[in-house]
Each structure stands twice: as C-alpha cells, then as structure tokens.
C-alpha cells in the first residue's frame, strides 16, 4: 500500500518585507512518518514550518503565497481556505519551538492549556489527558508530585518535554518541531530523540534540525533547504 500524503505544499513563496526567503517550494510529507528539514541557519527552515500552520500571519512583515493542503479526517483541506478556522488548523498541526516556551503558569495548567482553549471544562477528563500527555512525553515520573509548581522552574530539557506534552494534549495529527534539541545538552537531547521515535506512526512529524547524525538516526525522509527552495535528499 502506498503511503498516504498528509501534507502537500505547492509553489510556496515566502517573503519578509522585500526579502524572499523561500521561492516556489514543492514538497510532500507522509502520514506517520518523520520528515527532517535540514540546511544552514537563517535560510528559512523555521519559516517553512510557520507556513504549514499559518503562524507566519502573526509575524509582522511576513507574507506567504502558494498552497498548502493537510489531510484531516480523510479529506485534503487547503489551510488558507477561509472556511477552515485557523484555530482548528493550529490545534491539529501543533508546533514546538526551538527555545522551550512554557507559559507563566503551573505545570498542570501548561499541559491543560490546549484543552482550556477548546472549551473543555471537565477537570477529571483534563487530569486524565494531562497525565497521558506527560507520560507520552517521558515527563510524568519527574513531575507527578509537583504539578502545581511554576513550569518555568523545570530544567531546560524538562521544559522542552513539557512543551511537547502540551502540544500532544490537543491530540494533533501533525507535530512540527523547530530544532527541538538545539538548546539542550546531549543527555536531554537523547531523551527527546527517543521520544520522537515513539511518536512516529501515531503522529506525522516534521522536524527542523541541523544535526546530521540526529537526522540519520530519526528521519524517514529528508529535505534540504538550498537556493531558496526545498530539495528532497533521501
């Protein structure tokens, strides 16, 4: 059976003001696979991720043209379709940033945040989802006794796993990760890599990275950013 295409990008061009960062990008990402996007810094890898969940719209001066489709519930949907709410898109195509960004609130509230956004009020259900997300992010055993503590007191690696747990809490179809290990030490990075391998299959992963060994260990498919576009390497 052929792999199912989860995300399809056609003729994507991206500008910051007058500077073109990406030009006529075409790419596909397969369901349940981990695709790595590699390349030197400052060439538009992170920008590319923001085009997939329309987060670029929140960045002053950014402008994207082209088409991005995401397959959700069996249907391909154009992300820029006005009838497709951007809030729903971002819940289903979640994102983890390079620098861990816990919100200034407790560990529990951080992970439960996407549920609150969706309007879920049932505390018992929320507690269940939070526990499950923290377990999937390999963080439950370390924080289960301190869920009410300020999340910003966790170590860098724990904060990044917290952010992954928070992204997982909304049960996303796609998880975008922007250099998720670059601000961490080798041990913390190793844990995150292991975690990403367990997420493969259940979730479509797009990981920006510039560590080639990491990419070789993890990725099913690799794109490289070069000459303002994305080229399939393997």
């Amino acid at each position: 059976m052929d792999p199912v295409i989860k995300i399809r990008v056609e003729e994507l061009t991206f500008r910051y003001g007058t500077r073109t960062v990406l030009r006529d990008v075409n790419a596909v990402f397969f369901e349940g696979a981990l695709t790595a996007v590699v390349g030197p810094s400052g060439r538009g890898k992170s920008t590319f991720l923001m085009a997939l969940n329309r987060l670029w719209e929140e960045v002053p001066g950014a402008d994207a043209r082209g088409r991005v489709w995401v397959r959700l519930d069996g249907n391909e949907r154009l992300v820029s379709d006005p009838s497709f709410p951007v809030t729903e898109l971002r819940r289903r195509v979640a994102m983890v940033f390079q620098v861990p960004n816990p919100l200034p609130m407790s560990i529990f509230k951080n992970v439960a945040f996407p549920l609150k956004v969706m309007g879920l009020r049932d505390k018992a259900v929320a507690a269940e989802v939070v526990e499950d997300a923290l377990r999937r992010a390999f963080l439950w055993d370390e924080v289960k006794d301190r869920l009410r503590e300020d999340a910003r007191l966790l170590s860098g690696g724990q904060q990044q796993r917290l952010c992954i747990a928070r992204a997982l809490a909304a049960q996303p179809d796609v998880l975008l990760l922007d250099e998720p290990t670059s601000s961490l030490d080798a041990r913390a990075a190793g844990i995150i890599e292991e975690l990403l391998l367990t997420l493969k299959g259940r979730c479509t992963l797009v990981v920006v990275s510039h560590y080639l060994e990491q990419v070789e260990r993890l990725a099913d498919q690799v794109y490289e950013v070069a000459d303002e576009t994305l080229q399939l390497v393997s």
């Binding site: 987060l55 809030t87 971002r90 940033f97 960004n101 919100l103 609130m105 996407p114 009410r148």
Partner: protein, 294 residues
C-alpha cells in the same frame, strides 16, 4: 587610569543623585510627621463625637476631619472605578487592534491629554456641572460624581499608556505561544497577554490612585466644600483632605488652625499609603491567583 576615573565619577554622581532624592523624600515626610504627629488625635478626626458613634452610630461629625477622609476614599474609589475599565479597554485597543496612522494619532492625543494641567480639567468638570444644572435638573451641580468623573479624565491617560506599553512589551515568542496551540486572539489576550503584563497594568492603576488622592485643582472646581459631612449620595458636595489642607494653609486665623492642617497632611499621607498598600496586596494576590489556580 583615565577610564577608571570616569567610572568613579559617574558612579559617585549617580550615588549623589540617588541620595539627594531619598533625603528629599525623607525630609518632606519627616517634616509632615514632626509637625503633624502631635495633633493627630481622635479629636482631630471626630471632633466632639466619640469614634464609635461616628463610625458605627452614624453620628454627624461637625468639627473633625472624618468626613474629609471618607470623601477622599469615595473620590479615589469612584474615579478609579470609572477610569479602570475605560483605560484598560482603550490600552488594549491601542496595543492589540489599532494599526498605522490612527494608532499614531491616538497615542499622541493621549500623551497630550496627560499633559493637560489639572486646573483645566477642573474647569471642564465645572462646565459639565453647569450643563447638567441647566439641561437636566436645577438640583444638579458640582458634586462627588462630577468630581470623580473629572478626576477620571485626569488619570485616564496614565492607565491607557501603562496598559498599552505593558502589552506591547510582551515578547514575540510569548505572544505566539498560545496562538500556536490554537487559541484565538481574545483567548490569547485574556489568558496570556494580560496576565503576562499584569504588573505593568497594575502600576498604571497605582499611579492613578495616588494622583486621585492628592489632586486639589480638579476637585476645587467640581464639588469640594469646607463643610458637608460624610457624603450621603453621589450627587452631594463633599469634603476632601487635599482641599482642607489647601484651605487651612491659605486661610488660617490662628496657629492652632495651622496645626490642624499639618495633622490633616499626615492623615492624607496615611490614607495614600494605605491605598497603595491595598493596591499592592491586590496586585500580588491577583498575580499569584492567575499563576497557580487550576
């Protein structure tokens, strides 16, 4: 060597400036305490009536400062209650929704409003009360409500600009965190941006509280009087401490009367400090609550 000299000189200059400011403040407060403390007695506050009767029995106080203390509290509460919702909403609009030319014009406009002398604001309030008197009812005139309304205009720019700059100071990565998790702009504002900038917003409100408690020029023209008793409604004239101090210091007929003025100054200082303490406590508690409530 030369560099070292420069550094030392700059550091000494900064220390001297800091010391000068602190000693000035200490001198002013010390002077008020020295002159006023011996005269702050239950008699100064309540006159011939006992404190219990004045506080709980509703006995009118004729020759004490109690009505002025109550009047000042009402005035501050009223003005801040009017200014807070309007100022917060306007600040949020300027920071989050207004763009381009209109935003520039409005920002300059509120800066100008912040620079309007308070006596001009007082004159505006006076005109409003005249208008109400003529158009609505001859019973209306300068009163607590008009004074609070005028003070609101005076402090509105502080609240607006503090809210605006606190929100605009939220870093971009915090700003997009909740949005990347599927929050809509209103949720982002309510759950991330406002809690994140809460300290800055609260500082604007604190400034407003202080300004309302001390201003004399505005209330002078909008309803303060020498003797009114504890105000019974928003449409009554009222007494206030800053006006009493101004009145006594310009019109005193005997040294005893001036001493009462110093006592009033110390009481006003106490009222301001307690308002600040309450505001600080609220700021801390709300900050903690926003952070840890499940």
């Amino acid at each position: 060597m030369k560099r070292g000299c420069w550094e030392r000189a700059v550091r000494c200059g900064c220390y001297a400036a800091g010391f000068w400011v602190v000693s000035g403040a200490v001198a002013v407060v010390g002077f008020a305490v020295r002159q006023g403390a011996p005269h702050v007695t239950p008699k100064l506050l309540f006159g011939g009536v006992s404190a219990r009767e004045a506080l709980f029995g509703g006995a009118p106080v004729f020759d004490g400062l109690w009505p002025a203390v109550v009047g000042t509290f009402y005035l501050v509460a009223g003005a801040v209650a009017l200014a807070a919702p309007l100022g917060l909403a306007t600040g949020i609009y300027l920071a989050e929704f207004s763009r381009g030319r209109l935003k520039e014009v409005l920002t300059v406009f509120f800066d100008v409003l912040a620079g309007v002398p308070s006596v001009v604001v007082g004159l505006f309030g006076f005109s409003v009360s005249l208008l109400l008197h003529k158009m609505v009812s001859p019973r209306l005139g300068p009163c607590l409500l008009v004074a609070a309304f005028s003070l609101m205009i005076l402090v509105l720019p502080y609240v607006i600009r503090a809210t605006q700059s606190a929100l605009e100071g939220v870093p971009q990565e915090v700003r997009i965190t909740a949005l990347s998790l599927g929050a809509d702009p209103v949720q982002n504002l309510a759950w991330v941006l406002i809690p994140h900038s809460f300290r800055g917003i609260a500082s604007g409100l604190l400034l407003a509280v202080g300004r309302c408690a001390e201003d004399t020029a505005v209330i002078l023209l909008t309803g303060v009087v020498v003797t009114a008793g504890v105000p019974r409604s928003l449409l009554d004239p009222f007494e206030a401490l800053p006006f009493y101090i101004y009145y006594v210091s310009t019109q005193y007929a005997s040294p005893e009367e001036l001493e009462r003025g110093f006592g009033a100054a110390l009481i006003l200082l106490g009222v301001s400090v307690s308002l600040f303490a309450v505001a600080y406590a609220v700021r801390r508690a709300v900050g903690h609550w926003a952070l840890y409530r499940a």
